[in-house]
């Protein structure tokens, strides 16, 4: 019996070795998953529908606008870059399912700019792109942990981290709002905890901190937040949440006549997105804001001019805003990564 098992095992090993040889002979011709002689396929998950989609659902159109321009100008060494987009509604379990589809069914070379801290974390755990060798390029979240090359070896950050932003906000508060009572609205997950860590490092003492659960943001919730900020007599209120939370807060504050000094985090600070929801421009006036890229209205900036010209032609009638600029900037960086990866780019290169 033992001998038989051993023989079976030996045979199986021999078969495996033969298969192994055959498989290893293939890559010489087929360069990489998602890469053909004429194209490179990338995949993106983000909220295209649902509460949190506000503003961010313009990102795929922005990225595609740049890739179309790139493709019309020779692509990456003759290969056209295509982008497969899947709606995850900002729900981590859906991000996991859609990412699996992108990798297994659509067979993308790499994931580009997946959005949301909780979503990217869930994907890292359940899909494990690192184990599969799939690059996760330029995640659309500022969670500081994603910069950790040991923990997330195939994941690359692009946005400055929430900790960095909170520290820079803290510095501004120290220099300009010393002695004022500071209030903070934040999302009650890893997005918010990263911000809290940064504020702690910066030594910011809050008169009141108001957490909100992802998906709960709306006018009714905002009225409740305002009650808390008023009770604490906050002079400065920091909104460190998604666009829909900022919009709900500013819209409700306008109705109730609540006017603290606002300070907006970059994630939810895009003016075009906020104004589109009906928030009057005057409510934003004099609020403090932060951005790593130039002002989207600054047409003296060569990138803003270049990207906005391409976008206007690709998506006529759609306002050029921060989500568009960041989406195009990320696509532009991805193009450089693909070009720098050599004549036959692979996931590893």
């Amino acid at each position: 019996m033992k001998a038989l098992q051993r023989r079976t095992l030996l045979t199986a090993t021999a078969v495996l070795a033969t298969v192994g040889l055959a498989v290893s002979a293939i890559p010489a011709q087929a360069a990489e998953v998602g890469v053909t002689a004429t194209g490179i396929k990338l995949g993106m998950t983000l909220p295209m529908t649902g509460t949190a989609s506000l503003g961010y659902n313009k990102i795929p159109g922005a990225a595609k606008a740049y890739f179309d321009y790139l493709n019309a100008n020779g692509g990456i060494n003759g290969r056209k870059v295509t982008l497969v987009v899947k709606d995850d509604r900002y729900v981590p379990t859906e991000a996991v399912a859609k990412t699996n589809e992108l990798i297994l069914k659509d067979k993308v070379m790499a994931l580009l700019a997946p959005l949301g801290t909780a979503n990217v974390k869930a994907v890292a755990t359940s899909v494990n792109p690192a184990r599969r060798g799939v690059p996760v390029l330029f995640v659309n979240t500022g969670f500081s942990g994603f910069a950790d090359a040991k923990k997330y070896p195939t994941t690359y950050a692009v946005l400055p981290s929430y900790i960095m932003e909170a520290k820079i906000m803290g510095q501004y508060i120290k220099e300009n709002f010393a002695g004022k009572k500071i209030g903070l609205l934040y999302q009650d997950d890893d997005f918010g905890s990263d911000a809290l860590a940064g504020f702690k490092t910066a030594g910011v003492n809050f008169a009141v901190k108001v957490p909100y659960a992802s998906g709960s943001q709306g006018a009714a919730a905002a009225a409740g937040w305002i009650t808390k900020f008023k009770a604490a007599e906050a002079d400065v209120v920091i909104l460190f949440g998604v666009s829909s939370a900022t919009s709900a807060m500013l819209g409700t504050a306008a109705q109730l006549g609540y006017k603290p000094q606002w300070m907006l985090g970059s994630v939810g600070g895009d003016a075009t997105t906020i104004k589109l929801t009906g928030v009057p421009a005057g409510v934003l006036y004099n609020a403090i804001g932060f951005s790593p890229v130039p002002a989207t209205t600054d047409m003296t900036d060569e990138y803003v001019k270049f990207f906005s010209d391409i976008y206007a032609k690709a998506v006529p009638g759609s306002a050029f805003d921060l989500n568009v600029l960041l989406g195009m900037n990320t696509a532009f960086m991805a193009a450089q990564a693909l070009k720098a990866a050599g004549p036959n780019p692979t996931r590893k290169s």
Binding site: M164, Q171, P294, A295, T297, D301, A337, K348, S349
Partner: protein, 79 residues
């Protein structure tokens, strides 16, 4: 990925702050400029000039950045 590890920090892009990619870190951009929203509701740099600050995700100080963004590659295409 090897390309980002070795060259990512020098990839041309619109940001006014440097990126920090290396073989040991996948940190992206490292700072912000501070602005005020104008009467139109649009964010603009305070005093009309971009003043950028950089820092890290640890206990490092917040410092004014001296980063000069390289010119955009010709036609906005990768070099």
């Amino acid at each position: 990925m090897e390309a980002i590890d070795s060259k990512g920090a020098t990839f041309a892009n619109s940001a006014l702050v440097p990126a920090g990619y290396s073989k040991t870190s996948h940190v992206g951009l490292t700072g912000y400029w501070v602005g005020k929203y104008a009467p139109t509701g649009d964010l603009a740099p305070i005093g009309g000039t971009y003043v950028t600050y950089t820092t890290d995700s640890g206990s490092g100080a917040v410092v004014k950045s001296t980063y000069k963004r390289p010119a955009m590659p010709a036609k906005g295409l990768p070099n």
